[in-house]
């Protein structure tokens, strides 16, 4: 067995690779070889450290030294100074941005504090199909403590003090919701877990259910104890087969261990959980529609009040919470409300899980404390924008949310700041856009989703959104007029004001937010018929560069509408009145003679 006494880790993430980290690695190898050290020290290329602004990164183990912005030439100094003489190379050490001091050990870097896993604490750590692993990590201890030592009112007090707010989108204070449901008088009450997760691109809830299903079951039982319910229902979309499978296994194991069922832990409290399947409609994530769907009725929303806390499932008081909201509960009980409230901002406590997607290097699932900035998420965790392109905006809140532009890169992210910025927290989809994304097309994309998902019960949402979509379509096809921009605004505000449920009330947000932040882009679509991002096909103009064209006739033969003419071995021409902007000529030309404007 080789016994290396030192490891040199060189970052091989996209960003660092672009700045010669391969060469850094091979320089290390050569240099160590020259000193005859290759048997004692191993050089390894790693995935992205997520610290790309300061790349290339080199980390040395076991002493946890973190070098930033290392060049291939620096390797010699690191080998001679650090490896051989044991003296750290000061100038390459990471500098704390605030104290300006060099940080010697990575554990002292606040970079490691950027992600804190509370809701995801067990995901990727325990085997989700083994209840004992969950129990070993404090699992069901919170439930046990609540049932044996704390009164329901005290538990509710704790949840209120923790400042936990709903993670399903609305951000309603969870403790308050529990209190309201507790106060409703009835012979039967229900706890419902909303695992519908319909936002395009979101998969936080799925990951929690797949990685740590017991945390949700435990929290539901605690909720049942608080509000006085003995029955819990998980509403989950049938498109999540693995999450369903793991949840079923978890429910059965919890029953087997006596942690669900009658007389839990000998306390006289009984609680059981069942699964209800949804067909995967976005509107069924709305709590009233969700309840109707569970009752076997059409998944359509109804007017609130009555709120589910008064009249929910089967007309009985029902407490609906999101998966991630529940996953936070056991930790709050175990570690205390004060601990939880110490993380985050004034009115948004704890962490939020985001599904980071789009034009970003490290696509993935992250859990960050409330109050973190977009810049930290994108550049320190996400590894920066793909292909070194320019950051344009981040879409949060899915079809109900909006875009955050460059000017919000340093805004602390919490419920209130996002709303003030014209977007919303939503359930946690975070889609990063770069300069090749057209904002009109983005608005159109979300509206198309809304159109598909609207239940059609009320007119403003059903017909209004269709008209809104048609206007956007007109604009992206180059037929828009300046007046259309005002129309978009007017129609949007009517839809917002008059729709019945949250889906309709928020559906124009992507349009309004892009209009606010990217008015120029809309304007150039309607006045000069140009799409700056080059995404709106219909607005492109194809022409042939007479100097480059060799007259090979390839484009002429491939154009589906016969818009190209020209003699063999002579320059060709595109008849603009016939061109349908399909782009075939551009793709086919071997001489780069087709120009797009």
């Amino acid at each position: 067995m080789a016994d290396y006494n030192m490891h040199i880790l060189v970052c091989g993430g996209t960003g660092c690779k672009a700045s010669q980290s391969e060469l850094i690695k091979s320089n290390f190898k050569t240099r160590l070889n020259e000193f005859g050290l290759s048997d004692e020290i191993q050089v390894i290329m790693t995935g992205c450290f997520g610290f790309c602004e300061k790349g290339p990164i080199v980390k040395i183990l076991p002493d946890n030294t973190f070098y930033t912005q290392v060049t291939p030439e620096d390797v010699f100094e690191i080998v001679e100074e650090h490896v051989i003489k044991g003296r750290k190379v000061e100038r390459l050490l990471y500098k704390d941005p605030e104290s300006k001091e060099h940080i010697v050990d990575t554990k002292g870097m606040d970079f490691y504090k950027k992600q804190i896993r509370i809701a995801l604490r067990n995901c990727g750590f325990i085997n989700p199909e083994n209840i004992e692993e969950y129990i070993g990590r404090d699992g069901y201890a919170a439930l046990g403590t609540c049932l044996s030592e704390i009164t329901p009112d005290e538990v509710i007090r704790m949840i209120k003090d923790s400042g936990l707010r709903g993670r399903g989108g609305g951000g309603f204070p969870t403790g308050l919701k529990w209190e309201l449901t507790r106060k409703s008088v009835s012979d039967q009450k229900y706890v419902v877990c909303n695992a519908d997760e319909g936002d395009p691109g979101a998969f936080m809830d799925r990951s929690i259910l797949e990685g740590d299903p017991h945390s949700v079951l435990e929290a539901m039982a605690i909720c049942g104890y608080c509000i006085g319910a003995d029955k819990g229902l998980v509403y989950i979309r049938a498109e999540y087969p693995l999450a369903i499978e793991r949840l079923k296994i978890a429910i059965n194991q919890a029953r087997e261990y006596g942690l669900l069922g009658n007389d839990i832990l000998g306390t006289g409290f009984s609680f059981d959980v069942e699964i209800r399947y949804g067909a995967g409609a976005f509107v069924c994530g709305e709590e009233t529609a969700l309840i109707h769907s569970m009752e076997g009725k059409r998944g359509e929303p109804t007017v609130k009040p009555p709120f589910p806390a008064e009249k929910g499932y089967n007309g009985k008081p029902t407490n609906v919470n999101n998966v991630e909201t529940f996953a936070n509960i056991p930790v709050i009980i175990n570690k205390g409300a004060e601990w939880f409230a110490s993380i985050g901002t004034a009115n948004s406590k704890g962490t939020k899980v985001f599904a980071l997607a789009g034009k970003i290097n490290n696509v993935g699932l992250i859990e960050v404390p409330m109050g973190i900035t977009l810049r930290e998420i994108i550049y320190d965790i996400g590894g920066g924008i793909k292909d070194g392109r320019e950051f344009k905006a981040v879409q949060t809140g899915g079809p109900s949310g909006g875009c955050l532009t460059k000017s919000f890169l340093d805004t602390p992210i919490d419920y209130d700041n996002l709303v003030a910025a014209g977007s919303m927290m939503g359930s946690g989809g975070m889609i990063v856009l770069d300069d090749s994304d057209c904002m009109v097309a983005i608005a159109k994309f979300y509206l198309e989703f809304t159109l598909d998902e609207s239940c059609g019960k009320c007119t403003p949402c059903r017909i209004g959104n269709k008209r809104l979509y048609e206007i956007l379509e007109k604009i992206t096809e180059g037929n828009g007029k300046v007046e259309d921009l005002n129309r978009l605004r007017m129609l949007s505000s009517v839809i917002k004001d008059t729709s019945l449920c949250g889906l309709g009330q928020t559906s124009p947000n992507p349009v309004l937010s892009t209009l606010d932040h990217f008015y120029d882009e809309y304007l150039s679509h309607v006045t000069s018929h140009k799409c700056i991002a080059g995404q709106c096909k219909a607005l492109m103009h194809y022409s042939i560069d007479v100097d480059k064209c060799t007259g090979c006739t390839l484009c002429f033969r491939n154009c589906p509408v016969g818009a190209i003419s020209g003699e063999k071995r002579a320059s060709h021409y595109i008849d603009q009145s016939l061109c349908i902007k399909c782009g075939v000529c551009f793709a086919k030309c071997k001489f780069d003679a087709v120009l797009i404007a």
């Binding site: 067995m1 980390k59 067990n122 990727g124 750590f125 990951s207 261990y257 696509v363 699932l365 859990e367």
Partner: protein
């Protein structure tokens, strides 16, 4: 499994399980085993985590090496699926990304058998609440 009857029983079970895990994590080489966790959430499975996991199981079995191979949930590094975490007793866990069959083989040959890390380590960039 008998039903757990009280909070005290639950705590007893918790201590038992914890010491089992501790033993696995801290114990010395002769007594304890290397552990490999494969991230098996939808994203991992879609990128081939199942094949990776069965390759680990079959190959280690074939070579007669005793390693605990288990599954776990999403580690969050979706861009680098399939991901695995390898723990040599007494050492820090190491996460590898893009572990296809070939990489799995390399990990077995080098890291499991020789305690030599190989390329493709994903640096852990978050802290989890400690219990």
């Amino acid at each position: 499994m008998n039903k757990i009857k009280s909070l005290a029983d639950l705590k007893k079970l918790q201590t038992e399980v914890q010491s089992k895990i501790k033993l696995r994590e801290m114990g010395d080489h002769s007594e304890t085993l290397i552990q490999i966790k494969v991230s098996m959430a939808t994203c991992g499975i879609a990128s081939g985590a199942k094949e990776t996991m069965s390759h680990f199981i079959e190959e280690l079995d074939h070579q007669g090496i005793d390693v605990i191979v288990t599954q776990t949930g999403c580690m969050g590094y979706c861009y680098a699926e399939p991901t695995i975490e390898l723990t040599i007793p007494g050492q820090q866990p190491v996460v590898y990304g893009f572990v296809n069959k070939a990489k799995a083989q390399e990990i077995i040959e080098k890291h499991v058998k020789l305690n030599e890390m190989v390329d493709g380590i994903i640096p852990v960039n978050y802290s989890s609440i400690d219990n």
